[in-house]
C-alpha cells in the first residue's frame, strides 16, 4: 500500500504510523465523560468500504495526514494534511 503524502509524494506504507479514524475528543466536563471517552477510545466503527483515518508520516515530513481508504481493497482515495 502506498500513501500519497501532500508534501513528500507517494510513499511506502512502512514510513507511516496508523492512528485510526479521527474521532473528536469528548468533552471532559460532561457528566458522562468516562463513558464518552470509553466509547471514543474503544468503540470504533469498522466499516467495509471507504474509511477516513489518520496517518502520521513518521519517517518522512512528520506531518499528520487524513487519508480516505477503502478497507476492502486498500485503495487510497485521497490524502490531505489533517491540520487543514
Amino acid at each position: 500500500m502506498r500513501i500519497p503524502c501532500p508534501y513528500c509524494g507517494e510513499r511506502d506504507l512502512s514510513e507511516f504510523v496508523y492512528y485510526g479514524d479521527p474521532v473528536p475528543r469528548p468533552d471532559p466536563t460532561a457528566a458522562d465523560a468516562p463513558r464518552r471517552f470509553y466509547e471514543a477510545m474503544y468503540l470504533r466503527d469498522n466499516p467495509a468500504g471507504p474509511h477516513e483515518e489518520l496517518w502520521y508520516h513518521a519517517n518522512g515530513c512528520r506531518g499528520w495526514l487524513r487519508v480516505s481508504r477503502d478497507t476492502r481493497t486498500h485503495d487510497v482515495l485521497g490524502a490531505s494534511f489533517a491540520g487543514k
Binding site: C8, G9, R11, D12, E15, N59, C61, G63
Partner: protein, 204 residues
C-alpha cells in the same frame, strides 16, 4: 553543550574502514558544517521567506528540494520546516540564524546531531536502490530534488547534487550522527559488489 565540539570531528574514523577493489562508489563525510533545523511559526511563513530572501538572496523551497546561495543551503524537510547547512559554519551558525529569523521561526542547532555524507560514482544509484524506498531515477529525482525518508531503518534526508565531472550521479545524505556507524555498515555492504572507496572526512 558537549555536542558543540562534535561538528568539527568526523563521525566515522577512516582507520578500520575497508577499501574495496573497484571504483563503483565513493563516499566522503562533510565535516565542520553548521547544521540547523528551522521551522516557521504559525502564520509567519511569508514573512520568514522575505527575511531569508533579503539576507541570503535565496527563495526557501516550498517542497522537498535544496536551494543554495554561496556557502548556505536550505532543504525542505516538511511543511514550513527546513534543514539549513552552512559550510564551515560549525555550531555558531545556528545562533546567527536564530537571531536573523527571530521571532518568525524556531531554530535548533543540529551541528553535532546530524552528519552529512556525500556519495557518488557510476554505481551509486544501484547501491542506494538497495535501501532507499524512493525513486532515484534521474527522470524522477533531478538535481536539487530532496526527500526525507528511511534507509535500513535509519531516518535520512537525501538530495541530489550536480553530476560529477565523469557524468556519474552525486547525492548527499543527512542522518543522525549517532546512527552513522549503522549507516556505514549498510552502505559498505550494499556497495561492496561495486567497490566502495572511503575518501575520508572533508573539512568544510
Amino acid at each position: 553543550m558537549a555536542d558543540m565540539a562534535l561538528s568539527g570531528l568526523p563521525a566515522l574514523l577512516a582507520a578500520g574502514l575497508p577499501q574495496q577493489p573497484g571504483g563503483g562508489v565513493t563516499i566522503t563525510e562533510r565535516c565542520g558544517l553548521g547544521i540547523a533545523t528551522m521551522q516557521a511559526r504559525h502564520g509567519q511563513d511569508a514573512s520568514l521567506r522575505e527575511r531569508i530572501r533579503q539576507h541570503f538572496l535565496l527563495e526557501l523551497p516550498g517542497r522537498p528540494a535544496i536551494v543554495r546561495a554561496g556557502s548556505v543551503s536550505f532543504t525542505g524537510i516538511g511543511p514550513h520546516h527546513w534543514l539549513a547547512l552552512s559550510e564551515g559554519g560549525g555550531h555558531v551558525f545556528s545562533g546567527s540564524l536564530r537571531a536573523l529569523v527571530a521571532p518568525l521561526a524556531s531554530v535548533s542547532d543540529q551541528s553535532g546531531g546530524y552528519v552529512v555524507f556525500r556519495v557518488g560514482g557510476p554505481a551509486i544509484r544501484d547501491t542506494l536502490a538497495k535501501g532507499f524506498p524512493i525513486d532515484l531515477d534521474p527522470r524522477a529525482f533531478k538535481p536539487g530534488d530532496a526527500a526525507t525518508t528511511i534507509v535500513s531503518h535509519i531516518g535520512a534526508t537525501i538530495w541530489r547534487c550536480d553530476d560529477g565531472a565523469d557524468g556519474s550521479a552525486c547525492f548527499e545524505i543527512a542522518l543522525f550522527r549517532s546512527l552513522s556507524q549503522s549507516f556505514w555498515e549498510w552502505f559498505a555492504s550494499s556497495a561492496a559488489e561495486f567497490g566502495c572507496q572511503w575518501q575520508g572526512a572533508v573539512q568544510q
